[in-house]
Amino acid sequence: MREYSLDDEVDFLIIGTGAGGGTLAGRLAEMGFSVVALDAGAYFRPLDDFASDETEQEKLYWNDRRIVDGGTPLQMGGKNSGKAVGGSMVHFAMVSLRFRPEWFRSRSVLGYGADWPLDWREMWRYYREAELALAISGPVTYPWGPKRPRYPYRAHEINSAGRLLALGAEALGYQWTETPLATVSAPRGKSPPCVYRGFCRFGCSTNAKQSTLNTWIPRALAAGAEIRDLAMAGRIEVKGDRATGVHFHREGAWHFQRARNVVVAGYAVETPRLLLNSATSRHPHGLANRSGLVGKYFMTQSNQAVFGRMRDEVRWYKGPPSFTITEHWNYDDRKDFFGGYCWMAQGPLPIEWGFIQTGARGLWGEALRQDMLNYNHQVGLKMVGETLPDAANTVTLADEVDQYGLRIPRITFSWGENDRKLIGHAISEMTRSLEAIGAEDIFPQREDANHLAGTARMGFTPEDSVVDADCRSWDIPNLWVCDGSVFPTTGGVNPSLTIQAIALRTADRIKAMAGRGEL
């Protein structure tokens, strides 16, 4: 790995190496820019460092102190976080979906949320690039939305849980398909085909999963980028309206890395936190915050579920948890609320299942023990639903400080009325699907959320957004934000592919601007 000295003024200093930062680091390095990418987490080697153990793998989460409040405080630190080189994609469920084209113009076409300054046709091209880079294994033809090219790898053989979703969907008259997944169904380079170990959401120990960690990061390294792990960014230094570098904490001390451009890619909590923590007298409300929108419109996605029990064995833990999907309600607008959702087959591992049994169902003691014996017969459907952007949902700074002496984020969130309607609709639809296949003891998991978004939204003017379509901040021209924070709306599908597509587009735009001397 090439290493830069702190005095080297690198072209791009990227904070965070997940779907946004990792992808951007890879592409910018390949374009010939000098790149240093910081990550607060460790650089894990899956073959050596990952265990088949839910608890051990919590080392992939961002479990630093945060304050959560609001009407429905979010549980932070699990699946909605990541602290490792590769970011949360190291433990993502590999679900790689494209947005419905209309979502890029939610406000003008569908009547809610905000429009994106991006055109879906352009995004379609970058989705393709991301799908090729991750060799997505998906269905030969995808049943929803405009025609898309064939996925690079074929869909995996679906497991019983996936088949039960299909049977339910067919009974309801909905289309279903194999979920496009970022785990290879045939060899690819050093990646062996997936062996359906089922620990995907706790880090893939075989490298069959195509995450940032084993796709974009190696490409970045090969092109001369430096990945600096265990480096916590604390403050972006600005001189006037130009960023000059980043103060980061590594090996027990603070350092300063000089840079011509700074990209913040810390996801929807750490990105606004860093921008707010970097306030100066000239930028008293935080960097890139003239609009006052940094930390506003914080979103998550509804992740409620319905579970039941089958007479036959299901063994839902076998393989990736989400083999099949129905996006029916993302594309059908005959409903009395805004936004859409999809649902996917499920396969929680035993500890997670225990949490659901105690939390959502309230089982305890002998009743819990008895019911856990049904593990191999359980079946479930879990939604990924759109949450509407609401200025009242925010990430702000608390007065408390963390282990680095940095003010910790306060995450304020409440489901809105529309969100509740959408969730209610999904729970009743998923319940119908389980009833149709003869599941027994059906119960809903009414509170769960996952992916984050918003807090540094992209838009059309300096007044309506934090960054422009190129992820460049309106206020500080050499400060960029490239992660899920830039989403004006969040859509009803998992966001990682969209984040990567945005990063790919940003890289192309940066190259074009550099060529014209506009950086």
């Binding site: 060799a135 269905p139 074929r154 869909a155 679906i158 088949r163 299909a166 060899p187 062996p192 062996v195």
Partner: protein
């Protein structure tokens, strides 16, 4: 390149041709035996009927070898019956696999075609049986007469069966290699070489029977070689699965099937027999 040894000079051309067909059918049966044993073991013999192809292919293999060691110029009734049974098993197998594919959610979908019992696999044992049946009929020809099947020139009939078999087997390889996303360029070989051989055999079926067809024979030998090389490629393919050959007990079962490609070798051998038969008994 498999060298097809010539029978003793005193042996009748019809018997020679029958013996060559027996070798082709033996090769197919051996491929099916190893392949179905492994695949059905993988399926845990979930249905007791899954043992059938193993028994049938053992029968077809030994019957073919028996035929290969038999210089008599007449049909062997027991052998004929066994070949008939083999072919019938192949047809039943196709039916079974088709039924299992269609009953899954999604019906006739790529998912089900990729991952259910492959429809093309039982076709290989059907072909083995067919070549055995053809061998018995070819053998049963008085000296000086042209072997005939249902009144048709046996050379042409065998050519036709070979041609169809090559296309079908190539289709099967194509389906499964499509499932593997043609991730290695060598995966294109079985969907390019054998169809050419199939087309050439189609030409031989309906063309001038007096032509020497050196190019066709060359191409058949190439296809025979591909069948053997294919096993080599699949051995390499197994090494690319998680754990490689250290984890052979899992990867041989889940990886690319090592015994499957020699089906092409068996078909090419039958094709060469058909051409020899045509040359020995030309017709206008």
């Amino acid at each position: 390149m498999p060298r097809i040894s010539r029978a003793a000079p005193e042996t009748q051309p019809a018997v020679q041709a029958a013996k060559r067909l027996n070798r082709g059918s033996a090769m197919l049966a051996a491929s099916v035996l190893a392949d179905s044993a492994m695949e059905h073991y993988r399926g845990g013999f979930y249905n007791p009927a899954m043992v059938t192809p193993i028994l049938t292919s053992i029968a077809a293999l030994s019957t073919s070898l028996h035929g290969h060691n038999d210089d008599r110029q007449r049909r062997h009734r027991q052998r004929d019956r066994l070949f008939g049974l083999t072919a019938a098993t192949g047809i039943a197998g196709i039916g079974f696999h088709l039924y299992n594919t269609l009953k899954k959610p999604g019906g006739l979908s790529w998912q089900n075609l990729f991952y259910s019992g492959p429809i093309g696999a039982p076709a290989a044992i059907l072909l083995s049986g067919l070549f055995g049946l053809l061998a018995e009929r070819v053998r049963d020809t008085p000296p000086g007469e042209t072997p005939r099947i249902f009144g048709l020139n046996a050379g042409r009939v065998t050519s036709l069966v070979t041609s169809v078999g090559l296309f079908a087997t190539s289709g099967e390889a194509g389906l499964l290699h499509f499932r593997g996303a043609f991730q290695n360029p060598a995966m294109f070989l079985p969907v390019t070489l054998p169809p050419v051989a199939g087309a050439l055999m189609g030409k031989a079926t309906f063309g001038n029977s007096r032509k020497e067809r050196r190019f066709t024979r060359f191409w058949l030998r190439l296809t025979a070689l591909l069948g053997i090389a294919g096993s080599g490629f699949h051995i390499y393919g197994v090494s690319r699965a998680m754990g490689g050959w250290h984890n052979w007990r899992q990867n041989m079962v889940d990886g690319p099937p090592i015994p499957a490609p020699p089906s092409f070798t068996g078909l090419a051998m039958a094709g060469l027999a058909a051409l020899a038969l045509l040359r020995a008994h030309p017709e206008d």
